[in-house]
Every structure is written in structure tokens, then in C-alpha cells.
């Protein structure tokens, strides 16, 4: 597989996600750029090796994470550009605003009490609050189990 095709698949994944709010599967990517699904699956594997994508465990045709986007609903929804996206974690919630270069609202909550805590990005800047993000897993282990991280 050419690097060019791998890049095309990467851009299609992210383009479709930004456009629809939903992370596409291999068939949807194949149809969008008119190539064989098997080539898309090869590209998924290469992008996974580069840590740009995490396939759904047990089903390599589906994407669990295309960071900062999540392929499944999470507790970090992100409202931007009139759509709802899902982030993998609080870092990725801001990451979606950064990737889209868009204003965003994240209706999150306190990790212990569940109290609603809203994050907001306006004009490329976060609206600051005294909130803190907690990192439980050290950097050397982030990709040991990235779904847990």
C-alpha cells in the first residue's frame, strides 16, 4: 500500500467524522474514496501502528478511536459546528475543538460527584474555570491500554 493511499484514508476518516459527527467504518471510507474495503482495512492497521486510530476490539472494520474523536458515545460529548461529537477523554474534548478550529461546548461532569461542569472554547481560547484534569496513568503506559487511559 502506498503512503499516499494511507494518507487518503486518514483524511477521509477525519473528514467524514468532522462532517457528520460520527466516526465512519471501513465500508463507508471505501465507498467515499472508491477503493477496495480490504485496502481500507490495511490502512486502518497502519494507522493503528502509528497510534492515529484504535480499531474496535474484535472488529477491525470499526473504529473505536480516531483521536480526539470516539467511535462510541462517551461521557465527554462535544457540541461544535451544530453537531455533537464524542471525545475519548477530557483532553480529547478540548482536542475536538482544536482539531475543528471551532467554538465548542462540552457538557461534562465532576468525576466523583457527577456535578455538571461545562467546558467551553470560544475564539480559539478556553473559557477558564478552576477545574482540574486528573491523569491516573503515566505517559509510558498510555498506549498499554489506551481505552482505559
Amino acid at each position: 500500500m502506498s503512503r499516499e493511499l494511507e494518507t487518503k484514508v486518514k483524511l477521509t476518516i477525519y473528514g467524514l467524522t468532522a462532517e457528520t459527527g460520527r466516526v465512519p467504518n471501513s465500508l463507508e471510507v471505501a465507498r467515499k474514496i472508491d477503493i477496495d474495503e480490504s485496502d481500507v482495512l490495511d490502512a486502518f492497521a497502519r494507522l493503528h501502528a502509528k497510534r492515529l486510530l484504535v480499531p474496535e476490539p474484535g472488529d477491525s472494520s470499526r473504529i473505536r478511536m480516531a483521536p480526539p474523536f470516539s467511535g462510541v458515545a462517551t461521557v465527554f460529548p462535544v457540541e461544535a459546528n451544530g453537531k455533537r461529537y464524542y471525545a475519548n477523554c477530557v483532553w480529547d474534548a478540548y482536542g475536538i475543538a482544536a482539531a475543528l478550529h471551532a467554538d465548542a461546548i462540552v457538557p461534562a461532569s465532576d468525576g466523583h460527584t457527577g456535578e455538571p461542569l461545562t467546558l467551553e472554547v470560544k475564539n480559539d481560547q478556553p473559557v477558564l474555570h478552576p477545574y482540574v484534569a486528573h491523569f491516573a496513568v503515566p505517559a509510558p503506559h498510555w498506549w498499554g491500554d489506551i481505552v482505559f487511559t
Partner: protein, 72 residues
């Protein structure tokens, strides 16, 4: 309220407390990781780049070093 198997696992859970970062630092991390994610050039930072990015916003030490062997 959380459920634990034993007092020992409560102790381990409490010891797992990692660092805290503020929203300004979090936004900087998001920009470094994802600002060009929808472009041809997008890639994940290499380990040395990560250390440099973390250091630039005051996050230093083995917790923030992807190559640290402190937790092996």
C-alpha cells in the same frame, strides 16, 4: 460511592493519584496534539517531542516521560 475488594485495593487506588493540570495547560496539550489532526501532515508526536511539549507547559518528571521505566 465506590466498591472495593479489600482495604488493600483502596490503598492501591489512593496511591494511584496522578498529577493534576489546569484548563490552560489542558488546552495547550489539545493544541499540540490535535490542531493539525485534520490535515495531511498530522501525526502523533514522537516520545522526545512529547517530553518537550510537556516541559513547555510545566509538566516534568518521569510521569510525563513516555520512555521512563519507573513503572515497569
Amino acid at each position: 460511592m465506590l466498591l472495593f475488594r479489600s482495604e488493600e485495593t483502596v490503598d492501591r487506588w489512593c496511591e494511584a493519584r496522578g498529577p493534576l493540570i489546569n484548563l490552560k495547560q489542558l488546552w495547550q496539550l489539545a493544541l499540540h496534539w490535535y490542531a493539525n489532526r485534520l490535515t495531511v501532515e498530522s501525526r502523533r508526536p514522537a516520545a522526545d517531542e512529547m517530553v518537550s511539549i510537556f516541559g513547555s507547559i510545566g509538566l516534568t518528571g518521569p510521569f510525563w516521560d513516555p520512555k521512563s521505566d519507573q513503572w515497569k
